[in-house]
Subunit: 481 residues, 2 copies
């Protein structure tokens, strides 16, 4: 063994368990947003690697002394930025087991259970979401990769022989991808990577109140582009945008794409999990006719990063896009699927294990209860904001995210933006809460995302008080000479 | 909390530790290659998810009863397939801590320590490898992604405005990527994804004895393609090919690419780590002038999958390739690097933690000792094979992989291939060892990769005996009426 003897292993592992237990007991004792200054850790660590091995105690001590202060605590009950997340504690054990087994789920035979547990858990999840069986699920690391994979399949579906002949140096039409200004940036990044070009990622106008794609505008743009000789590769509809959790009208978009033979990809990375609630199953209704759907269990189904899921109707097409034969990877033809043939990555961690652990520990009901609680807290926050003089809700808030801002009288647009930025920075600087922002119609708005399972009503009250206090102090500072 | 109370957490975590300790004590007690039949696990698990949460004991029991039999044991000391790997036990604890913190290393501020520990550990590794400081390291999940990222930067380096305008519907030259038949398939897959097209991935002829790219042939192909109006996007040279661990003559290739202004990417995913040995530092000598280098600590530097490293000279170019501004991700400009801007993936696990734990626990010397031991075992095996009548070494074996086959008299090529396949299948079916194969000059050859830290001389002797026994029985079965 290159390392500590096995008798040490268990004692050391138990100390890690004690550390995590203490951490989980009260992650709220740390500043949410790390107070580290750029370069702090680099300056604190030696410039050169140790020649000789060091003791476990020294490493764990440095972890606590040097690493933890440089962590922004996504587990903190008052982490409200981006999308708040939390993993069921048992999933940490699943990750430890997966790392210990160190199985590569590239091919069925390199660990049959890894491939088949992926099939089983994603079958369960499909049923929980009410998706048709025509969708086959595959695990990837991030929505960036799942979405990229869907777009790559959409490119291959054009039957332009792109896999074999590429895109350059040929007489091909310009390829276009349709999104909105609220679509997550990974779709644009994926299109750039696939050789589509940023200027061919078309932003379809949105309804100004709902922030949802306008189907009439989509139809018009598709037809205009076609008339100009361009070829539509994919339309991406979002269920639960990052800024406001708005949803594009997927069913109407599906009609438009079906008539025109265009791939419909649905990005439900954040909001898709909410469809496990009967009262939110409608979120994915329109997506039943889509070609591909992405959702992220590591966002809102209680597994740690990373685990993203792509449901796709066209498994053979996906295989045609990515599979290659390598002489050093000849496998017996036993009719099994080797998921290395269905994506960019050859190496694949055993990610399904943590999803299985989470699903079994929580049960469908446990996951539903947690999601309902997050949504209820967000709705309550929205009521408080709406009822408070000088504050306004900036967007509909059907799920667990609320966008709002402080609008004191007498500030022009630019000053109001600066004012809300200052409020956000003041709250984040307290270390008591962490929120992020977005822009709607170009205006800076505050954004509170609830999705951490430790977050209580008191935590939401606390950030709301911090925000009002910061706003009041800003206003006082402005009017006081 | 969605799950078990924290008082349960510690006791459960300790049971996981006990399980892993017992597993690590003797992974050799399991069949190396899982004996599962296709569908075994799917049939054993319920078709629907549990409505109510289940107890930890039931889940752990099912893990042992249903999952473990479906695992192919990469930890088994007689796992000799693909590239054998092993993780330092402490890295399992690092993965548990990373999952518990659940920090997303997408931006500096979302956990400064995650970004900076990546900088520190990859600085250490760069020094261990003797690479110039002009190389900046970034962690990705797999070589598939690291290599894809390097190729994406190479495409952007063409200054054809591909990011903005794409590849299709334009008057662009055909883009070409140069590899050999021994280059790992992820380069071809990456080129397909980037819109280059499989037929524009040019296989440069190799020397028939060394399996290394012929620089004269590369120069000729580059010049011919240029004369035909094509544009070279990248040349990939491999240090340690997957089939035989052959290395392309990187320094000579560098001269050719430099004269012609072509990006040189070096894939050292497996063999790069061997450059931490003074006697193998020459492996990367030629790569000092490359534009990008990939190596995989999860292959041969004792961290579990996944952790791959890209060293690149042109960080600004990489940022230009991938960065996008999103209104929901506005960050203060503090001069820090946000690694989400340097790759396809927005979400990033805190992978540097396990590399830091491994480097500190083993020290440079511990890693060097382990690599030397693996190489020595492979050299000893090669001697045994070379000395045995009826067996032949199929390729040079400078590192920890040996390719060979049994060549009984009187078999034609096809029969000899079938004979060696049967030998391999017979050995793998014993559950006592697991090896894979490759093809050289079209011929089936057996391949033994040593890289698991538990592998002893007795384990190598054991697989060698299994192979000879299987060969003897095959020959006897053939000659006996």
């Amino acid at each position: 063994m290159t390392s500590d003897t096995s008798s040490d292993f268990r004692a050391q592992f138990e100390r890690i368990g004690a550390w995590i237990e203490a951490y989980y007991r009260d992650p709220g004792r740390y500043p949410v947003l790390s107070r580290a200054e750029p370069g702090d850790l680099i300056r604190a660590l030696p410039a050169r690697p140790p020649q000789e091995g060091e003791a476990f105690d020294a490493i764990l001590a440095d972890f606590e002394r040097l690493i933890v202060p440089g962590i922004t605590h996504w587990n903190h009950p008052r982490f409200f930025a981006y999308f708040a997340i939390s993993a069921a504690p048992i999933t940490v054990m699943a990750e430890a087991l997966a790392a210990a087994l160190d199985a590569n789920a590239m091919a069925w035979r390199t660990s049959p259970a890894a491939t088949e547990l992926e099939d089983v858990t994603l079958g369960w999840l499909r049923e929980m979401l009410g998706l048709p069986e025509a969708f086959h699920g595959i695990v990837y690391d991030t929505a960036s990769i799942s979405g990229f994979t869907a777009l790559a399949a959409a490119r291959e579906a054009l039957d332009l022989d792109v896999r074999a002949r590429g895109l350059a140096g040929r007489d091909l039409p310009t390829l276009r991808v349709y999104i909105t200004e609220h679509t997550h940036s990974h779709i644009e990044k994926g299109a750039i990577a696939l050789g589509i070009g940023r200027e061919n990622v078309v932003k379809v106008p949105c309804d100004p109140d709902t922030f949802a794609m306008r189907p009439d505008a989509l139809a018009r743009l598709l037809d205009e582009d076609r008339a100009r000789g361009m070829r539509a590769m994919a339309v991406t509809a979002t269920v639960g945008t990052t800024s406001t959790t708005s949803s594009d009208p997927v069913a109407a978009i599906r009609e438009i794409t079906r008539e025109r033979g265009v791939w419909l990809h649905v990005d439900a990375a954040y909001a898709g999990p909410a469809a496990i609630l009967p009262e939110f199953r409608w979120l994915l209704d329109g997506a039943h006719g889509a070609d591909s759907i992405v959702l992220n269990p590591h966002k809102w189904l209680f597994v740690p990063v990373d685990l993203s899921v792509l449901y796709i109707r066209h498994l053979d097409l996906l295989r045609r896009t990515f599979s290659l034969e390598a002489v050093y990877l000849e496998l017996p033809d036993t009719g099994v699927r080797n998921y290395m043939d269905y994506g960019l990555q050859l190496g694949r961690r055993f990610r399904a294990l943590k999803l299985w652990f989470a699903m079994r520990t929580l049960g469908v009901r446990g996951m539903q209860d947690a999601l309902r609680a997050h949504i209820a807290l967000a709705q309550e926050l929205a009521q408080w904001v709406a009822a408070e003089a000088g504050w306004e809700i900036s967007a509909p808030h059907p799920l667990s995210v609320v966008c709002f801002r402080h609008v004191p009288p007498g500030l022009d647009d630019a000053a109001c933006d600066a004012h809300n930025l200052a409020i956000m920075d003041a709250v984040n600087a307290t270390g008591e809460a962490y929120l992020s922002n977005t822009r709607l119609h170009g205006r800076f708005v505050l954004r509170i995302a609830i999705g951490n399972d430790r977050t209580t009503r008191d935590d939401v009250l606390a950030v709301w008080k911090l925000l009002r206090d910061a706003a009041r102090q800003r206003v006082l500072a402005t009017v006081t000479p």
